[in-house]
Homo-oligomer: 369 residues x 2
């Protein structure tokens, strides 16, 4: 009497949606996507507030990629709105260009400069560390202590509630440091948002009649009543094993939106507050969407502890957490009919394009051409 | 092994959402809402297009009611954006105020007039019919042949592909005829749209953890695998019985959106085209939402035959269709564990507030205080 499908997919974020789409449209597989929340799209879910301002409900999702495969795959489901993501950092009572580039350097030394001078100066400031082992080392080995403390140290502590030296190099190492005037946040060649929003993109991906969507439902409630060949699990891996080895730590966030009768509230898409306030940043997505509204909504982002009921936003990339994750990963590797996929199931801080690429790769492993 | 809930609810429109919400929150009943489409909200579903314009995807839904109960019930889930729905009718190469009121009458006779004169004139034009039996009679008995032919006859034929005399009085009788200068389309005391849209309202209604949502799924596929006490069915009643007595007729629609770089495209929310073009009307929702955008999207509405794959928008209110419906209704009345509810399941052309009121009433029948 069980409801029979070929694949049960837990989670309707990018990992789950890509797998469902591929399996349904390419292999004619019947899929049931089970999602705990009452909407699709995972943390990429976006929506218009009552003023008509498009918001990323779970924090900004700046889509970018160098992968032609990812672009052409996703372009089946959306048009794109090209945009450059610009960020400032508020410190010592003023706005600084961020990530660090030649303009930032000029602000810092208080006069015009050149790439050559910047490179020579950083060479002096730099702490020589051939193989940076953590997020403190990765920054001081590039720009030295002073810029590290101005822009990175406190921001990271606020965001992760850990010292940068207790976090993998990748955390702060994600952020480029440039000696030219390129002031874009990101360096990838393709930077754009889905023209009608992420939610619409997910609706298109999940529209195939082979894909059934069960929302607002813990997969555990449904699983005993389903007949299926394989389970694709994109939720937190520690949850899957009832926290058998103890809970994996995550960072969570609280978002506070605020609407203003202004064309723009702040001078850039994102302003970081490394050293002031309890929030880490204020995001004004309208700078990226360029919505033609006479008002604007900004969102302040307050990092918070991950407690039951909160959303597990970020796996914490650090040696101790990896060690704990390994225990789960070893067990997961022994599953024959469960595939663990995505940011939460593999406890990795991936970008969206990486998640899509990994899911496409996983699909090809299941069904090589 | 079947998935066990208390109630299975087929359809995530107003009828289904109200029942699920009441049963989940008031009776702690576990509900599974099964919806054929991949979104909630039924035909009230709205969304922003890629220009940020809020659209009613399945035709305009002008919310209005005189019921305090309905207002206070829905206000738990939404704020409201008050608005007046204004309509014009394009005929003989010009815009006419519509529904017919004193201003329309003045346009028609080509000079200023008074309510008294209008009443006296209509009294002469009127065809005396004490008990109008159809949509032609209901109009000519109020305003005579000439206004009927200018505004009603062809519009109704286009919309329903039937002669007005072959439709219930209620079809054209819905539209008020006034001898004062009240030019609102509707007369109800409360006229407003959900501030953040209908879709958001439905998300709030369906957010309770007792409510599971199965989208993109024909309920027939799922039903054999479910254990439940009662079924609440809000889909087409003839579908439920596999068209045992033949298919009930519905009218369907095709919508053509078009975006313009204009503050407004047309002078009113809705312009009817009774005698010109293949579409019946052009709706510019921005007149009601008052979105502060420098562009606008209009939707042309083309009535079309209801064929497999099309959406069954309107039950056709006429003696012959009622006779066929009665066969289904008689059979439905004998079901012990199935409740038929809403526009499609009871084959009635209801407004949204009526649907909500009927669902609340149905709930109270199940669970009297």
């Amino acid at each position: 009497m069980a409801f029979a499908v070929d694949y049960v997919i837990v989670g309707a974020g990018f990992s789950g949606a890509v797998m469902a789409e591929r399996l349904a449209t390419r292999q004619n597989k019947r899929c049931l996507v089970i999602e705990r929340r009452n909407h699709i799209g995972g943390n990429a879910y976006d929506r218009h507030d009552k003023h008509g301002v498009l918001l990323h409900q779970y924090g900004p999702h700046y889509f970018r990629t160098n992968s032609d495969e990812v672009i052409s795959y996703l372009s089946q489901f959306t048009d794109w709105h090209p945009c450059e993501y610009k960020i400032l950092s508020w410190a010592n009572g003023k706005y600084w260009q961020f990530p660090i580039n030649l303009n930032t350097f000029e602000q810092f030394i208080g006069r015009p400069s050149t790439s050559e001078e910047m490179e020579q100066t950083l060479a002096q400031w730099r702490v020589p560390i051939p193989q940076p082992q953590n997020s403190e080392e990765v920054i001081i080995s590039q720009v030295g202590w002073e810029l590290y403390e101005l822009f990175f140290r406190n921001y990271t502590r606020k965001q992760w509630r850990r010292e940068p030296r207790d976090l993998d190099p990748s955390v702060c190492g994600r952020i480029p440091i440039r000696t030219n005037r390129d002031d874009r946040y990101l360096s990838e060649k393709f930077q754009a948002l889905p023209a009608a929003g992420y939610t619409r993109l997910f609706e298109k991906m999940l529209a195939h009649p082979n894909i059934h969507l069960l929302l607002n439902t813990d997969y555990r409630q449904a699983l005993p009543h389903l007949k299926f060949e394989k389970l694709i699990y994109t939720g937190p891996v520690d949850d899957f094993y009832d926290h058998a080895y103890g809970p994996l730590p995550y960072r969570s966030l609280r978002f506070e939106p605020e609407t203003h009768e202004l064309e723009f509230f702040q001078p850039a898409l994102q302003v970081n507050y490394p050293n002031d306030h309890d929030f880490t940043r204020i995001v004004e997505l309208k700078h990226a969407t360029r919505q033609r509204l006479p008002l604007t909504t900004v969102i302040r982002e307050y990092p918070q502890e991950f407690l039951p009921g909160a959303e597990p936003y970020y796996p914490i990339p650090a040696p101790d957490t990896h060690a704990l994750y390994r225990k789960y990963a070893d067990r997961a590797a022994q599953e024959r009919d469960v595939i663990f996929l995505g940011r939460l199931a593999t406890y990795r801080y991936y970008n969206m394009d990486q998640v899509v690429a990994l899911a496409l790769h996983q699909y090809k492993k299941l069904f090589p051409d």
